[in-house]
Amino acid sequence: MSGGLHFVVCASLVPDPLQTLEPVMGPSGPSLKNETMLPAVLDPWAAHALYESAALVKKIAGSRLTLVTLGPKAKVQQVMMTAGQKVAFEFVAVDGSASGFTESMETAAALAEAIRALPNLEMNRLVLAGGWESASRGAGTTLQIVGEMLGIRDQFQGVDEFHVEADGSLKILERLEGGRYQVSRCPSPPVVIGWATGTLPEPPNNPQIGMMNMRAVMPALQRAKTVAVGAQGVRFVAAELPKQKRETRVVKDASPQDIAREIVEWIRGRS
């Protein structure tokens, strides 16, 4: 495609999935206990969006990649120390809450504003990407709304494959129920692509890429506009950990035969 594509990836931060999370209720709604202390990572599905987009930029001549991140500045800087070592990108930061207990409408408004302000944004080259759901709110609505705010009506979610065909058209595979894919074709950008895991492994850390990115990340963080992203109109009645606790019965020293018998009985609904 002449002129290439402009991949704009929206990716926020979430607590490292290996951390234990505990909700605490405050006057303005729930938050996570010790939220500022919890180590954070780039939101995993959005990270896939970033890696897949970076690979496409390499493949399609004249393409560029911009990462737009909404999150608390200090945390974003920490995460970029590692996330920034994976692939090369231009960077825009918006300073605000990355909590799951905010509204996708408010998050989307802040992101759309940041994207509209990108220098040299050409809608007819725009591939607006991100994770199909966040690991925080997990609603899968933010990208849809950003797309609507930017007037993009060709939207795809749960994407594992995105191909640019010889005629410049876009072939997209979206996940459906039961392990199936829907294959669609769109003649050209702009499109919204909500990535699932894609097909690529996580790129290894590359300190050179990291240094290059950090040269852009630091000034971008200094320029970052502060926005108030909350949950207007929502009253949180409760935020709780699951109540059910299991007492695990640990079966040691039983023969494979006996275990197998017990499992089969259980599968057949007899124990």
């Binding site: 705010m149 669609s184 079966v251 275990i259």
Partner: protein
């Protein structure tokens, strides 16, 4: 505020409705009864009549429909246009939909168009002391939240389990036709195909009683110092064939394909369960050679009965994550299980 409900359902090209839709009908009926208000049904698709007839006796005040070839297949632009038009025609304050890949793809965008708000993956919605309260999970099923909203319209995609399935005899029904935009802009994207694995490799079975999870242990060196991937593959496939279970995998095992590691032929990214995988719903789950780490186990939130087979008595499953942990070699156990299932 007096509420008015609308249930929107996409009708597939073959005239069917998603299975979860019957539960959504049940949930909307209960809600309307509790709130003493009426509800409309809004359908869209190529031919909505069979679905409308099937729902004729569900108690809806009106049956609204958007119909045409352009609405046959899932496509953001036409699905969103149809839902928007149905919502405007109904003037509903609350718009409920069964949670499917098709409705989840559009519901945020439609909420924006209507000036409303959307909640997806809702576990339930109920009236508590005269207030509407919605329950859903945050942080990948780790934190359960109950919330109320001021904004209307309120769009809600209801998950499986949110209501008892409604059943009724089909009957004739009067449809009110609604026009939705389907111009060149909405038709830019073209549906090409549904890709699905051949029947014998169809390992993701949402309706199965049992989820069988295979972890990376199946492809690791065993007590004899060797890997036994082919044997693992054969044991697992045989078990899936005999039990009809749905196959899930851990991130470690599905990532091996991308990293050039030992691969099970029946496993792809689509099988991954957990933080960056799926959260399937099956009554029972059996985890094998899987450590039971938190990013995996969050995908088990809706699996009621859980058992695990692992060599490590101290693996994650031992700590209140499974009902039973069998400390044993999964190769030996599953070989015997297959024999018993014969």
């Amino acid at each position: 505020m007096a509420e008015k409900l609308l249930l929107i359902i996409p009708v597939e090209a073959d005239g069917s409705m998603p299975k979860v839709a019957w539960e959504t009908v049940g949930a909307v009926r209960s809600l309307a009864e509790a709130m003493q208000c009426s509800f409309d049904v809004g359908l869209w698709g190529q031919d909505v009549l069979p679905a409308a007839r099937a729902l004729a006796r569900c108690g809806a005040a009106r049956f609204l429909a958007v119909q045409g070839d352009d609405f046959a297949q899932a496509r953001y632009a036409t699905d969103a246009a149809a839902s928007e038009a149905l919502a405007r025609a109904s003037q509903a304050t609350m718009i409920l939909a069964p949670s499917t890949s098709r409705t989840n793809r559009i519901i945020g965008g439609v909420a924006y168009r209507l000036g409303g708000r959307a909640d997806t993956h809702a576990a339930s919605i109920q009236l508590v002391d005269g207030r509407l309260q919605l329950t859903r999970w945050y942080y990948r099923q780790r934190i359960m939240v109950v919330l109320e909203r001021e904004h209307r319209p309120w769009l809600i995609a209801l998950e499986q389990g949110a209501g008892a399935p409604w059943a009724g005899e089909p009957a004739d029904v009067t449809l009110e036709w609604v026009t939705a935009a389907a111009g060149d802009t909405e038709r830019r994207t073209q549906f090409e195909a549904i890709q699905q694995p051949p029947a014998d490799q169809q390992t993701i079975r949402p309706d199965a009683e049992l989820l069988f999870v295979a972890g990376a242990g199946w492809t690791k060196k065993q007590r004899d110092g060797q890997v036994h991937v082919e044997e693992a593959d054969q044991i697992i496939r045989e078990f899936l064939r005999k039990s009809g279970a749905s196959l899930g995998g851990t991130k470690s095992i599905v990532d091996q394909a991308g990293e050039g590691g030992a691969v099970l032929s029946c496993m792809s990214h689509m099988n991954q369960v957990g933080q960056t995988g799926s959260t399937p719903r099956h009554p029972k789950g059996l985890a094998t050679c899987c450590h039971g780490e938190e990013p995996h186990v969050v995908g088990w939130r809706f699996i009621n009965e859980r058992r695990a087979v692992n060599l490590d008595p101290n693996c994650g499953w031992a700590h209140g994550k499974a009902d039973v942990l069998y400390v044993a070699d999964a190769f030996e156990v599953m070989r015997k299980v297959n024999e018993l299932l014969s």
